[in-house]
Symmetry: C2
Subunit: 201 residues, 2 copies
DNA sequence: CCTACCGATCGGTAGG
DNA sequence: CCTACCGATCGGTAGG
């Protein structure tokens, strides 16, 4: 019988993941050495290679887990039966809440994704595209004209504007600031619902 | 009389700057060696240190020049006499045109700013704040309620949404795509003018 | 005493 | 689960 992995193997892996995400978020992937990472996690550098094949695999795991969790939370919050503006609000709220709960993971996804080898990047972009498609559908429900085959399809750029508004928030949004995350979700949802409603008229 | 620098000193410096910006944009600051940079510029690595004290100084010069040029172009395009929506449109158009003309510089500003030492970062953030303030003023002119002292000031988050929409565009916008830069400026301006008009009602 | 510029190599540190 | 190392490459500087 083959030897099995230690019962706490996955637990330790996730712990390493979180330590790495925090360091990568604070100092950048290239400026975080495996030795630093080991020190911060309280293990030897060599032991890190017991859990991850190399430094890239650690980065990939961080970004992939974050995006899979994000997609799951967004799908759970989606309610296609709602009126389009409320559905949009629900999706935006789910994304912003997910960002709060994985601040470091989110920042690493944004800043370090292009440090990954091309094959790993492609796997990540697949998940990203599914998430983007869900928001695009919610925006199109607010104003079907966005999908008209005119001289320029508006749905993609509008969706990208929305992701700009959500994904940039880590640069300035503070949970101890005057605006709550839910209030910011309300604001973005209203801004885009009204803005999108006025387009292509 | 003190000896002067070579007549083409500044020209060569700017040329190095552009070569460095392209490499930093494509491969990242930490993954571009001074040796690569020298090779791409057709000079020895040692000569780079004749023009820049060190690698950080090169990055600082790239980001600072870009932001100063951006601010100048935005100020030149500003027309406080226009109707608020048209003024907003003029500012957004100026920014997006500036981004096109300095694609690499813009990408470096976004991705590598936090690699700079803290003192250099502070100098950069000063310029950024001035640019942000100009867009905030234009948004406030569209809907003065944004500045109301309610439970949460709306002007800052709305301004950040707008910067998200503009600054993320380098990730997906293609000048050879179906949507022109001016059409995208129209779209963003309409989206925010209508969206902001509907807020706080 | 200045600038412009090169071939070669420095001390340290990276990921593994 | 560690210490001891490696091949390679880094940013920066020497003499001339």
């Amino acid at each position: 019988m083959a030897r099995v992995r230690a019962a706490d193997y996955d637990d330790k892996r996730v712990k390493l993941l979180m330590v790495a995400a925090r360091l990568f978020a604070r100092n950048g992937f290239d400026r975080t050495s495996m030795a630093q990472l080991g020190e911060a996690a309280g293990v030897s550098k060599a032991l890190l290679y017991h859990y991850y094949e190399n430094k890239d695999a650690l980065l990939f795991d961080i970004v992939e887990r974050h995006l899979c969790a994000l997609e799951a939370q967004i799908l759970a919050a989606d309610a296609p039966g709602l009126a389009p503006p409320e559905r949009l609000r629900a999706l935006i709220g789910a994304a912003l809440r997910a960002y709060r709960d994985s601040d470091a993971l989110h920042k690493v996804q944004i800043n370090e994704l292009d440090k990954l080898p091309a094959t790993h990047q492609r796997a990540i972009r697949k998940i990203q595209r599914r998430i983007v498609a869900l928001f695009a559908a919610a925006l199109a429900a607010v104003n079907p004209h966005l999908q008209d085959k005119g001289e320029a399809a508006l749905l993609k750029p509008v969706t990208m504007c929305l992701f700009g508004a959500m994904n940039w928030s880590y640069l300035w949004f503070r949970d101890d600031g005057p605006l709550s995350r839910e209030a910011y979700a309300d604001l973005v949802a209203q801004l885009f619902a009204a803005g999108v409603g006025a387009l292509a008229d």
